[in-house]
């Protein structure tokens, strides 16, 4: 289970973006998260995926907190991402712009090799053609690149996936294909999926349950007032 316990985050010198957020994602569960622009959806995603260290609270992944895994973090105020040494994070994040998320100098095969993804079957399910593997990112379209980004984050260690506006930049057909493939894999491997999107129809269609980030924040604020 991926748990957010009392997560709060603020950028340096700014107001609290959100505080005391609690959230749970079970393996195999698909949770949709929405909220107005600027409400901190992406920041929350980065905190959950370990890119940012929460200012308050902690993340628990299958019973392990981030500070369990990295006990020295409590003493030394270093960011979680910088001190990681123990292999891939079980929580992986899919970014909105796939063209920024792959090294432009590498062939796609190396990008996959970086994540240790060798499963041919996975690539085929995601609709990746073999001849794309020897290409460089600028020789692929956004949809094709996003498939690679998905494949990369679906390494054997991945237990939870956070998709932050994953298909917003893509056309409807590609969007449908990618989601079909991903939902299939997620069900098969019992991966917990957090989907962040502005697209209500998409969220209603695929999610087991929906979370409104604003409502969540208001709820926790009300609780703390009581």
């Amino acid at each position: 289970m991926l748990e957010a316990c009392g997560i709060g985050y603020r950028y340096r010198g700014k107001m609290w973006l959100f505080r005391d957020i609690n959230m749970r994602i079970q393996p195999g569960e698909i949770v949709g998260l929405f909220g107005p622009s600027g409400s901190g959806k992406t920041t929350l995603a980065k905190v959950m995926a370990g890119y940012l260290r929460p200012v308050e609270g902690y993340i628990v992944v299958d019973g392990q907190t981030s500070t369990d895994r990295y006990p020295f973090l409590k003493r030394r105020k270093l960011s979680l991402t910088k001190e990681k040494k123990k292999g891939p994070n079980p929580v992986q994040l899919i970014w909105q712009h796939p063209e920024n998320a792959v090294n432009p100098r590498w062939r796609m095969s190396k990008t996959l090799a970086e994540a240790g993804v060798t499963d041919r079957h996975l690539l085929h399910t995601l609709g990746i053609h073999d001849e794309w593997l020897i290409r460089r990112p600028h020789e692929l379209s956004g949809g094709e690149l996003q498939r690679f980004c998905l494949a990369r984050s679906l390494g054997p260690q991945t237990k939870y996936l956070i998709a932050d506006e994953m298909t917003t930049m893509l056309d409807a057909l590609t969007q449908a294909q990618i989601w079909h493939a991903l939902l299939h894999i997620v069900k098969q491997r019992q991966i917990g999926l957090l989907v962040i999107s502005h697209d209500k129809h998409l969220l209603h269609r695929i999610s087991d349950r929906l979370i409104n980030l604003n409502a969540l924040a208001a709820q926790s604020a009300a609780q703390s007032l009581d």
């Binding site: 040494k85 994040l93 970014w95 792959v102």
Partner: protein, 286 residues
Amino acid sequence: MSDRLIDRGTFLRKFTFNRRQRALFVAMSMVLFLTGMVAGGVFLGPENLAVNLDNRNRPPALEHLFGTDWLGRDMFVRTLKGLTTSFGVGVAASLLSTLIALGLSLLTSWHRMIDQVITWLIDLFLSVPHIVILILISFALGGGFKGVVIGLAFTHWPSLTRLLRAEVLQTQSAEYVRISQQLGKSRLWIARHHFLPQLISQMLVGFILLFPHVILHEAALSFLGFGLSPEEPAIGIILSESMGYLSTGMWWLAFFPGLSLLLMVVAFNLLGRNVRRLLDPYQDHQ
């Protein structure tokens, strides 16, 4: 009228080269020029430097292009030998400097504190005139080839380090590097696979553009007497020796070696700029 203009346009296009072709042409000719210089210095044997007292103090002529000195040695051969020495010093010192710059710039990605320390070091070294530290290090190491090269290497890394550090900093904040960290890749792996390929073109250009600096500083150091030992054929030595003879009207002793050194420096500069133009066309537009 308009037909003529079009004709002229197509005619010109056939016989002009675009920017990239020009850059390639200039770079190639500079490489040829420099290899010619160095090959001349390497393959001319020491017998060409023989003392010939019958032939002393000759002004430039066809027989001795750069004239002869007070011992009757051919100045053209001495100059070529000197340039070859300069080239050798240049290669060694630039290579060392580049390696220092690479190491330090990769280190900046380790931690913010290390980055601050290295930035401070860069500012420190850039704020003191090169030649002062250079004399200090070279003198402390007892001069000679080793002293000069180490002195040059330890004074010429800062500007290149600053460039490479900026590149590392930019790459470090790229999404694909953050993802790489989340995929559990070590710093060393990221430095080797993400940063290093990004730095190679800058490094190559920086390496070539270090040459002119290094060569001029070597000549200055040898001229002042803190550099290469007097028996070595170096431009700095030739120039400082010629000082005593200039007042007697033997202008060629200083003029031609100095001019050759300048030409070599210009050639390296042109080479570096054009290599950059080839490798990094975007930066050239700025």
